[in-house]
């Protein structure tokens, strides 16, 4: 039982280290960029303002 717990803690550490390495090397793939956030804001504003003017 204790061995299992130790093995599981090691596995958690391994997984955490993988993310720490990705972070340290700035190797996250497919991160949201300024373009994504701008696109999201523009889309939301266009829909809100457009439908407000059309329907309200």
């Amino acid at each position: 039982m204790e061995n299992n717990e130790i093995a599981w803690q090691q596995e958690l550490t391994r997984r955490a280290r993988i993310y720490e390495d990705i972070e340290a090397g700035d190797r996250f793939e497919g991160t949201m960029t300024k373009l994504d956030y701008t696109g999201m804001t523009v889309l939301t504003l266009v829909l809100v303002v457009g439908f407000w003017l059309w329907g309200a």
Binding site: L12, A16, M40, L47, W54, G55, A56
Partner: protein, 487 residues
């Protein structure tokens, strides 16, 4: 000798594979972060999964409720505005962090509320929401069966009668039985129901448009507007849809952790959840207003005639069961994840049954909940909008989009997310402030509101207030006390 070495090598390899499979299964359950290589969903897979979740019978109910306040033209505008704002803010608060790190949503919330605080949030946001929805969907099932029997016998339906209550209790018991058997049976229902619901929506839309032109439909009045002020009615309709958008907060983070990256975790919500939910609600709204009845179990029989009506009601009953099984399963998996050792010790079947007791009570003693279900929905937004605000402030502005996987998954008693006895008083205070701001601006029970409600809604100020309080108090007090490992 060589054979012996090869055999030993094979045996070691097999053991390693078994351990890797076990670890991966544990990570899928949320015990550990999923690694990028373990995540399977791309953009379209997540869009499909999202759409399947959003296309449910509750979309008809929400659409019908919108029709009580405003006509179809204002209603469509309210559906689009409320849902896009709610879904985007909710997705920002949850899917970006779970999509980047593959972390379980309520494990990640330890960084915002503490390891015990995240349990409190789970009970408030997931357990209460799920119990309410279980009761509403069971009553919708009961009403479908009651309507079906009345149609077959050529009698008038009695939507709050004994038959409805018995059928609704039967629905909860059947859901309990399905979920107790495990996820495989639920998967089967999902594969059938989601595409069939799209077909049903298209068929309903066709039937509505074959009786009324688009111009005629758009100029129809609301069913029961509560105020003389049209703008106020419109904003209440927007608020109902904001609540619908924010109501995805407990669910989408944990779906997004199965996607390949942050961008794939975020954008499909706009296409899948927003698009699918808006489509279903618009069909529900048009049907409700065109037929003068907000309850889908009644307008379906009116629109389709007795034969198709019976088929449609049977299908709606079946579809409700699927939605009930989905939310019950997700909630109990999460409950065991955040629960204490004594909660985890309760058997799967027993904990499911205990969870169903409150929905039983609601069905038996409070069947009126169905007709005013939007009141319950809007109450949930008082919490969910504040949670979204805190999530955005914490992850984007306080932590610079960085989470520490090691600390989040290590034993918590002496870790950085211990805060104050496992609770982050700042996060919980911000949640309370968000909730109070909401209720002060707009009371979901009485629909009484401040003048500002007409310009700001209630969810948006609640989201902003909770986020701002969390940000300012964390900057002022958390760092000095060494709470929460803020940079």
């Amino acid at each position: 000798m060589t054979d012996h070495v090869a055999h030993e090598h094979l045996s070691t390899l097999k053991t390693e594979q078994e351990v890797a499979a076990r670890n991966r299964a544990a990570a899928e359950r949320g015990d550990a972060p999923l690694l990028p290589s373990e995540r399977l969903w791309g953009f379209w897979e997540f869009t499909y999964a999202n759409s399947a979740l959003a296309i449910a019978t509750w979309a008809f109910l929400i659409g019908g409720s919108v029709g009580l306040f405003v006509g179809p033209k204002e209603g469509i505008a309210a559906i689009i505005i409320g849902n896009i704002v709610g879904v985007v803010l909710t997705a920002l608060a949850t899917t970006t962090m779970t999509g980047r790190y593959g972390v379980e949503q309520f494990v990640a919330l330890r960084s915002q509320f503490g390891y015990n605080g995240s349990r409190v949030v789970y009970v408030l946001a997931v357990v209460i929401l799920t119990m309410g929805w279980l009761a509403v969907l069971a009553m919708m099932f009961g009403r479908s069966i009651d309507g079906l029997m009345a149609l077959s016998a050529g009698e008038a339906a009695n939507p709050t009668g004994v038959k409805m209550i018995i059928a609704a209790i039967g629905a909860i018991l059947l859901t309990w039985f399905i979920v107790a058997k495990g996820p495989t049976s639920i998967k089967f229902f999902n594969m059938v129901v989601s595409p069939a619901l799209v077909l049903l929506m298209v068929a309903m839309l066709y039937l509505i448009l074959s009786h009324h032109s688009i111009g005629e439909l758009l100029s129809m009045p609301a069913l029961a507007p509560p105020f003389e002020d049209k703008t106020l009615n419109f904003i209440v309709a927007v608020e109902v849809n904001l609540a619908a958008g924010f109501s995805w907060w407990p669910y989408i983070g944990n779906l997004a952790r199965l996607t390949k990256n942050e961008r794939t975790a975020f954008w499909p919500n706009v296409l899948g959840i927003f698009g699918a939910a808006a489509l279903g609600e618009i069909v529900g709204l048009l049907a409700a207003v065109a037929l003068g009845e907000s309850d889908p179990t009644i307008w379906m029989t009116k629109i389709a005639g007795p034969i198709i009506g019976i088929v449609a009601l049977l299908f709606v009953a079946f579809a409700n069961m699927t939605s009930m099984a989905n939310i019950l399963y997700t909630s109990i998996v999460g409950l065991r994840q955040v629960g204490t050792a004594s909660v985890r010790a309760i058997s799967w079947g027993t904990i499911l049954f205990l969870f169903c007791l409150i929905p039983f009570g609601l069905v038996i003693f409070y069947p009126q909940m169905y007709d005013g279900f939007f009141i319950f929905l809007v109450w949930t937004s008082a919490l969910n909008s504040a949670l979204a605000g805190i999530g955005i402030a914490d992850y984007f502005f306080l932590r610079g989009q960085k989470l520490d996987m090691r600390s989040l998954h290590a034993p918590q008693e002496n870790g950085p997310y211990r805060f104050w006895g496992g609770f982050n008083p700042i996060g919980l205070f911000a949640l309370a402030v968000g909730f109070l701001v909401y209720v002060a601006v707009f009371n979901p029970q009485t629909l009484a509101s401040l003048p500002a409600f007409k310009y700001l809604t209630a969810s948006v100020p609640s989201c902003l207030a909770a986020g701002a309080v969390h940000y300012v108090l964390t900057r002022l007090f958390a760092r000095g006390r060494g709470w929460g490992q803020y940079p």
